[in-house]
Symmetry: D2
Subunit: 388 residues, 4 copies
Amino acid sequence: MLRYLTAGESHGQALLTIIEGMPAGLWLTADYIDRQLERRQGGYGRGARQRIERDRVEILSGVRGGFTLGSPIALKIANRDWENWREIMNPGLEARLDERVITRPRPGHADLAGALKYAFYDLRNVLERASARETVARVAAGAVARRFLEELGITLAGQVVQIGEVKAVPAEGTPEEIRSQADASPVYCPDPQASAAMVEAIERAEKAGDTLGGIFEVRVYGVPPGLGSYVHWDRRLDGRLAQAVMSIPGIKGVEIGLGFALASLPGSRAHDEIFYSPVQGYYRVTNRAGGLEGGVTNGEPIVVRAVMKPIPTLRKPLRSVDMFTKEPVAAAYERADVCAVPAACVIGEAVVAWEVAAACLEKFGGDTMAELKESFLRYKTRIRRGER
Amino acid sequence: MLRYLTAGESHGQALLTIIEGMPAGLWLTADYIDRQLERRQGGYGRGARQRIERDRVEILSGVRGGFTLGSPIALKIANRDWENWREIMNPGLEARLDERVITRPRPGHADLAGALKYAFYDLRNVLERASARETVARVAAGAVARRFLEELGITLAGQVVQIGEVKAVPAEGTPEEIRSQADASPVYCPDPQASAAMVEAIERAEKAGDTLGGIFEVRVYGVPPGLGSYVHWDRRLDGRLAQAVMSIPGIKGVEIGLGFALASLPGSRAHDEIFYSPVQGYYRVTNRAGGLEGGVTNGEPIVVRAVMKPIPTLRKPLRSVDMFTKEPVAAAYERADVCAVPAACVIGEAVVAWEVAAACLEKFGGDTMAELKESFLRYKTRIRRGER
Amino acid sequence: MLRYLTAGESHGQALLTIIEGMPAGLWLTADYIDRQLERRQGGYGRGARQRIERDRVEILSGVRGGFTLGSPIALKIANRDWENWREIMNPGLEARLDERVITRPRPGHADLAGALKYAFYDLRNVLERASARETVARVAAGAVARRFLEELGITLAGQVVQIGEVKAVPAEGTPEEIRSQADASPVYCPDPQASAAMVEAIERAEKAGDTLGGIFEVRVYGVPPGLGSYVHWDRRLDGRLAQAVMSIPGIKGVEIGLGFALASLPGSRAHDEIFYSPVQGYYRVTNRAGGLEGGVTNGEPIVVRAVMKPIPTLRKPLRSVDMFTKEPVAAAYERADVCAVPAACVIGEAVVAWEVAAACLEKFGGDTMAELKESFLRYKTRIRRGER
Amino acid sequence: MLRYLTAGESHGQALLTIIEGMPAGLWLTADYIDRQLERRQGGYGRGARQRIERDRVEILSGVRGGFTLGSPIALKIANRDWENWREIMNPGLEARLDERVITRPRPGHADLAGALKYAFYDLRNVLERASARETVARVAAGAVARRFLEELGITLAGQVVQIGEVKAVPAEGTPEEIRSQADASPVYCPDPQASAAMVEAIERAEKAGDTLGGIFEVRVYGVPPGLGSYVHWDRRLDGRLAQAVMSIPGIKGVEIGLGFALASLPGSRAHDEIFYSPVQGYYRVTNRAGGLEGGVTNGEPIVVRAVMKPIPTLRKPLRSVDMFTKEPVAAAYERADVCAVPAACVIGEAVVAWEVAAACLEKFGGDTMAELKESFLRYKTRIRRGER
C-alpha cells in the first residue's frame, strides 16, 4: 500500500514528504525530481516568488546510490525565503507573533473557514499551510511515482487547454510530442496560436489587476487494462483520480474522457466499441471513456481534465470583513500569481501519476522492482493474447 | 471514523452493507431507509426491473427499538428476482455455470476490463457486481448518514438539471421546496417545462433504441463552516466528495459551485465576497464556490454537480468481440434502463450525505448523538458570534 | 488490501461479516467454513448455548459455484435463539425495551465502561455486542483466510497448553498430527494426560461456581521468509498478529516464540543460528524467535501464544453496583461457559490466519489465485536457491 | 484521525517523522521532545553510539511560537555520525556501494529475511532501516502525544521490572514518584536494590561477551473510562496497544494487567469488583485488568508490560552463513549495546502515549485543544456523577 504524508508551511523552513511503500530497486535521483519541481515553477503568469526560489529536493532517506531501499523516502525542499521569515514563523517561543498579522480573510481562500475552524486570531496560521506552496511536496512525491511508472513503460503528458476565454484543441500524438510541444510553450499549451493568445490574455488580466483560471488535461499512456476495480466503490480508479485532482488547491471540477459533454450525447455515440486483433489484442478506435470503464482501466490512455478557478488574491481586492473589528474592509493582498493553470497542470500530472502507481502496486504486488516488472509483463502478455 | 463496506451481486441473494462508526442514540427505522430506496427506483426511463422489485431494507444489527446502539449496522436488501437466479448464481457446487454465459463484452461497462483483470471466462462474473444494482447498498448507507445529518439540521436536496440536450435552470428556494418540486417530477427536475421536455427526450431515445445521460445537482443546506480541512490533501472535503460521486457507476465528471464555468471568468467575478452581521455572523451574497473554499466548508450550501454518461446497454447494440471466438459480434444485451439520471441523483445525494456525515463526526467526535449535538451547537454558537 | 467488517448482536438476528479484497478463483464452500464454526463451538466447559445452536454459515455474495468472484464476500450466521429474543432485540419501534433490562455491570466485562461511554441505561445494549458471540463472524472470516493459505501450502495448528494450573508441553510434529491430536481432546490439548487433568480442573471449577482461563498456542507452517516488513512499524507482522490476537475477548497477553521466557535468557541462548544447504536453502535448528525476526517471517513456523483470563461471569457473582440505584449489588449473571480457552484457541487460529493471508496478499499481489500462486512459487524458488 | 510516518536510516542523514491530525493550540517545544530523546539514550548498558550523539529534534513545520497550528508536524533528528557515512550511504550515484558491505546475517535480526525479501546483496540495506535507531522518530512522535495527554491530565510512568534474571517488584505510588525513582536509576528501575543487581548483571554479561533482555512496564494515569471500543475488533484499545508495543524492535511479548498470570487464577480472583461513591464515581480497589475491560478503558490506570529479547548482536558472535559464498561463518558484528531494556521502556512509553492520544482524539474530536478539553471535561463530569 503506497501512502504519503506532506508537511510544511509556505514561509516555514521547508516542505517535506515521507513516502512509504515504494518497492526497492527503483532508480531515483534528486535531479529527476528537481526536473518536475522546475516545471511546477514555470509557466507564464507566475509571481515574483517563483523567480526568487529555484526549488531543489534533498533526499534524506530511503535511497542509496541512486536506488530505492524499500524503506520510507523522505524528501525535503527548503524554502529559500526562510531567512526572511525565521523570526515570524519560528517554531520556538521567540517567534514574533505580533508582526505581519492578517485579520482580513481573502474570499476564495481557506482564510475565513480555516480561522473559524481552528479558532485562530492570525489568519497567517491558516494561509501558511493552505497555500499552494504545499503542492511542492506533492509534485516531489508524484515525481517518484512517475519514475516508478516509467519502469513499466507508463508515461504521462499534461497540457493546458484553456486559459480564461482562450481555448485550445488538445494536442494528439505521442506523449513525447505532446510533452515537448507543451514544454515549448510559456503556458504549457502545445497549440502555438492558442498559447500566444493565452499569454496575451494573462497580460491583459495583469494590467486590469485581475486573474485568470483555466483547464488542463493529463493523459497517461501505456496503461494496461485492469487497474482499479469495480468490486468496491473506494477501489475504483476513477474515484481515486477525482479525489486526487480535486484536492489540488483551486480545482473546482474534474472530468474523465468526454466528461460533461456526455450529458448531451446519445448512448450510441458515447461509448467505445470493442475490436480485437492478434497483434494489438483488444483495442478501441475511440477513447470517449478516457481509458476508464466501470472504474477500471480499459487499456486506452487515461484522460483526465480539471478546471482551476482564477486565483483569488487580486491586486484590486475583493470586499471582506476585518475579523478583529468586524468592519468591512478590502481583503488582504499577498504577492501572488496572475494565472497558475500551467503550474496546476504539472501538479495534476503528479497526483495522477501517484494514483496510477498505487493502483499498479496494488495489482502487481512485489517488494522489488524486478518482481513487480516480471508480474506486470506476464500479465500484459496474457492480456495481449486475449487469454483469461 | 465512519466506514462501510457493501456486498452483493445483481442477481445474487441480496445486497448488503455494514456501517461501522455511527454514534449511539440515532433514531433510525427501516421505513426511513426504504423511502430513499424507493426514490432510487423511481424516475421515468427505468427498465422493467424497477417495477418487479420494490426494495425493502432489513436491519440485521446495530439498531434496537428505533435507536442505534453504536455497534455496526448491517443492512440487507433482498433481491426478489433471486428465485429465478438461484440455480445460476448459487454459491455452492450445484450452480449451473454453463447457463446464461456471457462472452460478448458491452462497450462502456467493466465487462472487458473486468474479465481481463480477473481472468474470467463468463462475463457474468463481472457484470453481476459491476452492475448499478450495487448502489442499492450505497443508498441504504447514505440514508443512515442522511438521518444523522438531519439531527444536526443539515438537509439535502437533489435535482436533475439536464437530460440529453434538455437543460433546466436549477431551482432555488428552500431545500423543502426543491425536494417537493423534484419529487413531483417524473425525472426529479423541479422545472415543470424542462421536466416535460426531458420525458419526451427519453421517449424519443427509447423509440430509437438509444439511451440518454445527463447532469444532476446535489445541495447540502445547514452546513457549518469548518468541515473538511486544508491541512492535508486527503482530508479536504472537496476531494472526498469528488471521489464519492465519481465512483457512482456511469459518472464521468464532478464539479463544485460554478465548476467548469470558472475557466472563463475573471478572478473579480469568480469568488464570494465576505460580509458580517451580528445576526447572521459571516455570510456571502453569492455562492460561486459551492460552499467549499480551500477544501473546507465556508457556511454556504454545498453544491455538487455530476454528469452521467448515457447507459451503455443499447437495444441497438454496439460492436464488440466475442471473447471466446475473438470474432466481431454485437455486444450482449441485458434488460436495461433508457435513462438513469434521476436514480443517479438519488445515489448522488446518498454518497454526498455520507461524506458530509463523516466530516461532521471527524470534527465533532462523540460516541452518542447527544454529545455530538452538544459539541456541534457550541461550535455553531461560537462561529455565529464571530469568536475565535 | 484485505479488510473485513463484522456486525451482529449476541441475541440479535444474525452475525455477519463482509470480506473485501479476496482474489478471484479461490475454492470456497459453506461446509468448509462450517467446520471452523463447529470447532469454535466445541471444547469442554462450554455452556448450554453451544448445544442449542449449531452455527451454519450462509454465503450471501462473492462466491459462485464454489469459487470466489473477487467481489466482497458476505457471510451470515443466523442466531437460532432469535425467535426468543425478537421482541426484546427488535430493531423496530415495537421492541420491548423495558424487559430484561440489566443495570448491574459485571466486573471483567465491558458492561460498566461501555455504559458510561455510550450513556446507556440498559447494559444489554453493551453486552449484546461486547459478547464473545461476535467471534463467530471473525472465525468465519478467518476460515476464508485459512482456505486461501491452504492454496499456498500454508497451514495452521492450534493447541491449548494451559488451563488453570494444568500445563501441557506443546506438541511437536507435523501440523496434521497436532491438529488431529488436538481435535481428539475435549479441550483441544494434544497431551492426553494434561487434557484429562484440564477436564477435571474445569469440573472442579464448575462445582465451585468458578471459572478458568488458560493459554493457547497457534503455529503457522509453510510460511516463506519475507512476510511483513521491518520498514515501517505498522507493517511489521509481529505487531499485526499481536493486535489481532489481543483483540479477542478475554485475551490479556500475547507472545511470540519464547516470549516472556526471553527476559531471563542470555543473548547467546536466545536466538536461532543460521545454516544453509542447497536442498533446504537457509534454515535454523531452533525456533526461539517463533518465526519472526525484525517483524518479518524468517521461514520457520510462526508460533504465537496468548493468555485468556477466566470468564468473568460467575455463578457466585462478584460485587458490583446497580447503575440505577447506585447501591452495592451482586453482578448480573447471564448463562455462560466455565472455560472458553478451547474456543479461544480456534478464534486465535482464525485471526492469525487472517493476518498471514493479508501479509501474503500484500507481498504477492494479484487479482486471481492463479496469478498469486505463480508469484508465490517464483519467489519461493528464488529463496530456496539462495538467490537475491 | 491521528497518524504518523517515520523515515530514516541508522547511518543516513537523519531520522524524521511527519505527524498528521494533531489539533491546533497544543503548547509544544523542541526542548520538551529533546527530554524524551535524552531518556531514550540513557540507561546503563548502552554502547558507544549513545555517547557520540546527543539527539536533538528540529521542528520543521506545524508549530509556530510554541503552539501547534493543526497542520502536519515534521520533526527531524540529525544523525551526527552522518559525516563519517556520507560516502557510504549517499543517496546519489557517488555512493561507495562496495565499501562496508555486509554479507553475514546476524541471527535475531531482520538481516536474512530482509535480504531475501528485498533481494539485496548488501545486508547493510536491511540493517540500516531495521536498526533500533528508527525508534528515535517514534519517541519524538510519542513525545508530542505525551504533551497532548498532559493537557488532559493524563500522565505516563514507565519502569524496568526485570533484566536478565534480576526481577524487581514494580513500584507503586504516584506517577511522579515512579518517574523520579526510575529516572534516578541507571536502568530506570525504581527499586534501588534490584537496580544495583541489574547493573551488575549487565556488567557480567558484558564481560562474557553476552547480552541481556528484560521486561518493562508502562502505566498511564488519569485515563477516563470509555477510550477504545468493544464494537469492532480493530477499535479495541488493548489490541492497538499490543500492536504498538510489539512493533518495537526486540519485543516478543505484551501483556495487560495481570497478563499471563491470569492463566492460573480462578475467575473469582481475576477480576476487579465495582464500587461507587458520590465523590469518586465508580471505582475499583484492584486493577487486575490493567485498566482495560472489553477493549475499553475502565477508569483505572492502564498497565502494559512487554518483554524484550537480549540484543542479538554479540561480541562472541553466533553462527551464520555468508550469503555470497554460502559458507558457514560467524555473524557480522556491529558496535552494539549490551542491554537496551531501559531504552525500550522509554520507547514503550512513547508508543503507548501515541495510542492513548489517538483514542482520546477519536472519542472527543475537536480541531483545537480548547474544544477538545471542553468535551473531555464535560464527559468526565458526567461520568463522575454516574449519569448516563
